[in-house]
């Protein structure tokens, strides 16, 4: 199965969710800046990455886990991806997960400053603060997603 976590920029919440899913981040400890910055793509994407589906790794069930930045595509983007998979006859192979409902204001403001405005020294501490606050929400999302993936197999 292919699991795609998507958020606005594909740089923070989706990347954290994918890292949690793959065990790159432990679920029982709120990560610090070093832990977060060690995640591939975390606060490192550029405008050219919008729309790109990037592989983060494979989980223990051999599911491929991807991340995607879709700007303000919302839940509609999950349907868009699902619709394309349907057309290709591969609907059962895809699980698209919108992470935006787990994103807080700190993540939005920090992410915007760091990625969109290029003000990394200003935005990064804010987005890290927000990511730590959103951590348990994202753990919950990933647990739900893993269960959904198990039911789909």
């Amino acid at each position: 199965m292919k699991i795609i976590y998507h958020c606005y920029g594909g740089s923070h919440s989706s990347v954290m969710a994918a890292a949690l899913h793959l065990g790159l981040l432990p679920k029982d400890r709120i990560p610090n800046e070093t832990n977060l910055m060690a995640i591939p793509y975390f606060d490192k994407t550029t405008n050219a990455d919008f729309g790109s589906i990037r592989l983060m790794g494979k989980d223990e069930y051999n599911n491929e886990v991807y991340v995607l930045g879709k700007k303000n595509g919302g839940d509609r983007y999950s349907n868009l991806l699902r619709g394309i998979a349907q057309i290709l006859g591969e609907e059962e192979q895809l699980l698209a997960v919108n992470c935006m409902n787990r994103v807080n204001m700190f993540m939005k403001l920090g992410g915007f400053s760091s990625r969109k405005m290029g003000l990394v020294s200003l935005g990064r501490p804010v987005v890290i603060q927000g990511s730590r606050k959103a951590f348990l929400e994202l753990v919950n999302l990933v647990e739900i997603t893993r269960l959904r993936a198990m039911h789909m197999v």
């Binding site: 292919k2 991807y66 700007k71 983007y77 991806l81 699902r82 619709g83 394309i84 998979a85 591969e90």
Partner: protein, 139 residues
Amino acid sequence: MNILFLGTSGVHQALIAANIYLKKPVTDFNSIPEFANVAVESSGFPIYVGEDKQGNQVYSLGAGDVEMAKKSIEDLRNVLGCSANDLIVKPVSVKGEKMLALLNHIPASLGGHLWHKLIPALILKNQLKTIYRDITQFV
């Protein structure tokens, strides 16, 4: 094979392009099934338009940012182990396309018929030749 016409709005220019491709009449926009149907558009799912003579399935899809959506769709196609032999994405671009996408977001309660149908029809009437030319080159 599947052919997907992709525009900022899937119920306006992309839908017209798909109908032109299928040689269906498009001069009266109101006769085109799903034209200006913003409820269908808001779902995000591709709209099935028909089948061409070669047996290809033809769809229309709206995605505010066409370039970004094209990239996602082609990446997904590859991720799912498919290729351009399974799905071709044809972007449809017209003048005022951002406006068309924007108009779709105006609630029906604020005069939906005007924003979703009449103004887009005015914009697209002037663009019909451009779409015809684009589709002729595509075929």
